[in-house]
Symmetry: C2
Subunit: 721 residues, 2 copies
């Protein structure tokens, strides 16, 4: 078994992916192509041990690791290596209070010992490197997700809000204290009554021209700020989101910089007058973050504390904004905060990799039950069921990782100014809204399956899987509830579809299709081939082609998204002139389907990212193995939605029957390379610190086997004692 060691000090930004020369390809690898019937007897299943030994070193794990770690691999690996130092490792069995203090201390250490500030503007001492910043941030889960999230609260939310919603003078005033942690702060957006529906928050900031102050107020308990990181203990300031009211008019949600606590002469922090709060207490995970409630009783802050990049109030109370539409202003302001969604998705990909590195290595060593050889137990990963549980998750994690790299690059382009315009921002937001649910759910599924695949050992805290799962649980609903985000994506798909149809009406079908083909090349438009299927009824997938043909996979995946969207659009068009209640009811009746379409869209994007990544791998064994893995991803998605393809006539029953058989063949082919595929993730035993994935299991197995062999070699009466 080879292990990719991360090498933060010797980056190879231009590393050429190449095959290790001179190594023979195992016979099993050479046999490509699905069988016509699902059940055959691949030789690898007969003697898996031999196959596994042959297969070692077939995959160029270093080159694949470079691909997976992407453009900011140097920053990513440096952050990963923080987890090697005991200072940044989580201690077992701490109380909530102890854990919170330790994480605060770690956060301060991060400021001096790493480059966590590289996302801030150069003008205030940051690195001006948004992409590299997030790449590093994403890996912090390896130390402790609480550290990641507390850092995210401080710099990614509190700091980012000042950075993106404030003007340069405000940056100069507040960012240095935020960056240095002199001012731990809160991002006070969510309220008891409203989480993902930000526009409905009820806290008010009413301008009083007589004193040139805003009066911040919580009108009723449901308007209290809730689940706010740093609110329970450590925060001394907050960016508070509130309905801005001036001259008797509500100008919508705006953000204000609000001091909330002061340090007394005894060194204790206490709330400033008018500010109230409550500790949320123990949570399902992330207990190193001090979440709590905050509320305000007519708290006055100076006019200058309104973060005024997108909306300003003059001394006399006159409101002005560079964006006249209230709705567009709201979405522009919120859009600047997309980095939370981007980076949580990245962290979710990271933890999926780490979990699989543990479970696959253990499954490759652990033996249970004898098979054909009564003297030698079978390794878990040689069981088909075990392959079925873990290998598709490896494939999905690869696909998610490549798509996430694309998202991070898009994020960097926008926020570094390399490619920043309205359309890019909207596409970035939609892409983040599509991928964050997919990756955070993938992480939950992967962590749980990995835990169960490791049995009782997986349940021990020392093996990391259970605590990561506890911490990552909330990633599925914070920074935008996954279902709400997918519904947003679904609505965007409907809008794009509507626009596309309108264009067809105006410009004619042929020109429209040509235009869309151009869009596709740019990889910027969420709805990849909107409406094309309406024009092109001669489906390649239906008429011919093998399922291993990437064009067939692509078409099947695309077709499903488009057909679902077109179907819902058509139903909604029928009620567009109906009374509001009826239209809402019809929309609701298709809500589940719309969310399903959005998920299918995200999976298509992941498939495409995986496929695009294959182009960077030279022809050879590594590319072959990765191609099987991509096929596994595509076919497993198709299998999961097979009923849809059959019901809608996209696949015949006969072809549908072949899918599972082909997947099983891919599993058997990939099994010998499973460890290499997770080695490429770049997490060493030292990074993971999971005893079960440290090679100890193999040693124990060898030792036990040797004992039993010796015993069998003895005469019966002696052997028994």
């Amino acid at each position: 078994m080879t292990t990719t060691t991360s090498s933060p000090r010797t980056p190879e930004d231009d590393a050429v992916v190449r095959e290790r020369s001179g190594r023979p390809i195992s016979p099993d690898i050479a046999a490509v192509g699905p069988a016509a019937v699902p059940v055959t007897v691949p030789t690898s299943a007969v003697s898996p041990d031999a196959a596994a030994e042959d297969a070692t070193d077939v995959v160029d794990t270093r080159a694949v690791g470079d691909l997976l770690d992407g453009r900011w691999r140097e920053q990513r690996r440096a952050s990963r290596d923080l987890a090697l130092h005991p200072d940044f490792q989580r201690l077992p069995d701490q109380t909530v209070a102890e854990h919170r203090e330790r994480v605060l201390w770690q956060l301060r250490e991060l400021v001096s010992r790493s480059e966590v500030l590289r996302g801030f503007p150069r003008e205030v001492g940051g690195g001006g490197d948004p992409g590299g910043n997030l790449a590093g941030f994403e890996e912090l889960f390896l130390s402790d997700p609480s550290l990641q999230i507390k850092g995210g609260v401080q710099w990614g939310l509190f700091g980012s809000a000042v950075q993106h919603l404030g003007v340069p003078e405000q940056h100069a005033t507040w960012l240095p204290g935020i960056m240095s942690l002199e001012v731990p702060g809160c991002f006070a957006m969510t309220e008891v009554g409203h989480g993902s529906d930000v526009s409905s928050i009820a806290t008010t900031a009413t301008y009083d021209p007589t004193t040139e102050e805003f009066v911040l107020h919580t009108p009723f308990p449901a308007a209290r700020k809730e689940y706010i990181g740093n609110a329970a203990l450590h925060g001394t300031a907050a960016v508070v989101f509130a309905q801005l009211v001036t001259e008797g008019r509500n100008q919508g949600v705006h953000a204000l910089y609000v001091p909330i606590r002061q340090r007394g002469e005894d060194g204790e922090l206490t709330f400033l007058p008018g500010v109230g709060g409550r500790d949320d207490g123990p949570k399902g995970g992330l207990n190193g973050v001090d979440n709590g409630q905050l509320w305000f009783d007519h708290v006055r802050v100076p006019r200058e504390n309104l973060l005024r990049r997108y909306g300003e109030v003059a001394p006399d109370g006159t409101y002005s904004s560079p964006i006249t539409s209230k709705g567009r202003r709201f979405f522009t302001m919120l859009g600047t905060l997309v980095q939370g969604r981007v980076s949580l998705g990245g962290a979710a990909v990271g933890v999926s990799k780490a979990a699989l590195a543990i479970a696959v290595r253990y499954g490759d060593e652990r033996r249970q039950f004898t098979g054909a050889d009564e003297h030698r137990e079978v390794t878990l990963l040689d069981y088909q069921r075990h392959q079925r549980r873990l290998l598709p998750l490896v494939a999905r994690t690869y696909a998610a990782a490549f798509a996430q790299q694309g998202l991070l690059e898009r994020f960097h382009e926008v926020f570094s100014g390399e490619h920043d315009d309205d359309e890019s921002r909207q596409d970035l937001e939609t892409l983040a809204a599509a991928l964050k649910p997919t990756t955070t759910w993938l992480a939950m599924e992967t962590l749980q399956e990995s835990r169960e695949a490791c049995g009782g050992a997986g349940f021990m805290a020392e093996n990391r899987l259970v605590t990561w799962r506890q911490d990552f649980d909330i990633y599925t609903t914070f920074e935008g509830d996954n279902n709400v985000l997918l519904q947003l994506v679904g609505k965007r798909l409907l809008t794009d579809y509507g626009k596309a149809m309108a264009k067809i009406d105006i410009a004619g079908a042929a020109r429209f299709v040509a235009a869309r083909a151009g869009d596709m090349a740019l990889h910027r438009t969420p709805l990849r081939r909107a409406a094309q299927s309406v024009l092109d009824s001669g489906s390649k997938a239906r008429s011919a082609g093998h399922l291993r043909d990437p064009e067939v996979q692509r078409e099947l995946l695309e077709d499903r998204v488009e057909t679902m969207v077109a179907g819902i659009a058509s139903v909604l068009r029928d009620v567009k002139d109906a009374p509001a209640e009826q239209a809402a009811a019809v929309f609701n009746e298709h809500q589940d389907e719309l969310i399903g379409a959005a998920r299918a869209h995200a999976e298509l994007l992941q498939w495409e990212a995986f496929t695009a990544a294959l182009d960077a791998v030279p022809e050879g064994a590594t590319r072959q193995v990765l191609t099987w893995l991509r096929d596994l991803y595509g076919l497993e998605r198709i299998e999961r939605n097979l009923a849809w393809y059959l019901v809608n006539g996209r696949l015949t029953a006969q072809r549908g029957r072949v899918v599972t058989g082909y997947i099983n063949r891919l599993l058997a082919r990939l099994r010998p390379h499973a460890v290499e595929l997770v080695d490429a993730f770049g997490y060493t035993h030292e990074h993971l610190r999971a005893p079960i994935a440290s090679g100890a299991e193999r040693e124990r197995q060898e030792e036990a086997a040797a004992q039993l062999r010796r015993r069998r070699a003895l005469p019966e009466r002696v052997a028994a004692t």
Copy 2:
């Protein structure tokens, strides 16, 4: 909203299920039957509030609660009510050490304050009531799953092993101390190297006739006992499973009663000479149980300490057993320990009910985003997606509860002696092996979906969902790994199928089918209609019938199990004379499918149990609602495997397309009754202690809505301030 209060002091064993008379049935209920096309506009979606109010009190929650709680409802409810007392409630944020001590203390309190000993024989002061005992045990999760599992270790495993594997003299010697907790003890079966594969454990107990002692020994580290409850701290004795060796022959796995710790003069417990151990430390959950390793270095125990019901060693070393076959002896001994699997499944059903009681009540009160009415937000449970997430889980929990009741009754019949023979025991074991995976996975899915459906509030420890999930995680792999258990069930299905086919050959088809029909009525045979489909090719499901017809649902569910089993049997028959390696490889290629067949079998049993339970409900509104719920269960299972039905020609594409539409209609019909359906589970706010399910959310919503209404009534300029 009505709430069933549990009434341990006024049991109504003969309660007659009857409709509440005189209440009108809401118009929506009267409209029964699926539409021919999936998409229509039910009026309930337009004005859900009105429908919800009309619907209150339609379901007779008390009668349904009696049905759900079954034969031992009195014991069940008494145990449930233990959770009302603060002494038995879990404290937040305890360290592992504190939690362990508290649970030990609680366990001692249970002895004096409840009837946890009712499973033991009357001769030693128990209650001789195995069914009632497990019913009570299953509800302990409501206090703290650690209490449940520590009690399970002490009485259900350690005590049960003495009870079932020992003889009456041994009961008299050891059971009193076990029952009173004077002797906290361990059930030392699992080893580092072997969990679910018990026959491969490597600890040896070698008889030495010179001293009439057994020498207990751990030959290598992989043979250490692992994850043993009470081993880390509290256990002073253990039932240790070891390969029994006498006269130079290994007689297979047997159990011995072994003292492991002594209390010194300072009151501290220390290991006895030759016994070693290790604390497993923090786990993903159940941290009130002190799991650890145990090992033995030539530890000598008297000959009398062999639990000798199924195997005895005479002073001279001669081995004897009432069961001559070594294999049968092993399975008989293990079979006596089935109660762990039975009761864990029951606990999993309980926690699913509790989680849904929380999530459904919250979803019925919580409002997010406005719909057609811009002044009133929509309750979560009025969103189709939210219904889709929770209501099928309600249906599955009902099905699981009814099946679990049947399993518990079977268990009681066997262990009370009411109906105890070899076949009953085998059926009981197979049924337990089928249901334990299904219910424990259901619990995981339900807890997670409920947590996410409650958003951030679901992540707060005070709302219970996350801590239950942490604790129940291990239920999926302990007491038999779920996948291993399902494979056992799959093999049993294959065996039964083989026997059935053999009978056909001998007795002729017609008589065979008649015999099977008799079996079905007894509800004792796992494979319900084995092989009948081979004879009966004219499928009702295929040719006609509505999906809401229970016979159609039954046939579809049965057909799938049988066809899958028959298919695998046929492939295996083809290689039965092939070399062992090839046969093993072919079996492995169908392992995933076989496990799938076993799961399908378990789901069929649950569907049947639900359907049988409906017979106990008089005609009327309650029965109507429960029938929709059963249909939802059946159709959701069919939808999940729709591809199989399509590929195998059991449903046409046209009929397949209707399934989802019909499910959506059922969801809309069930939504107004969702709260009643979870009220019937019998968990009050006081039992659950989850603030979000206490009605506080509704109050907060009303208060906020009133404020906003008042504000809208004011002139614009005033309203804004």
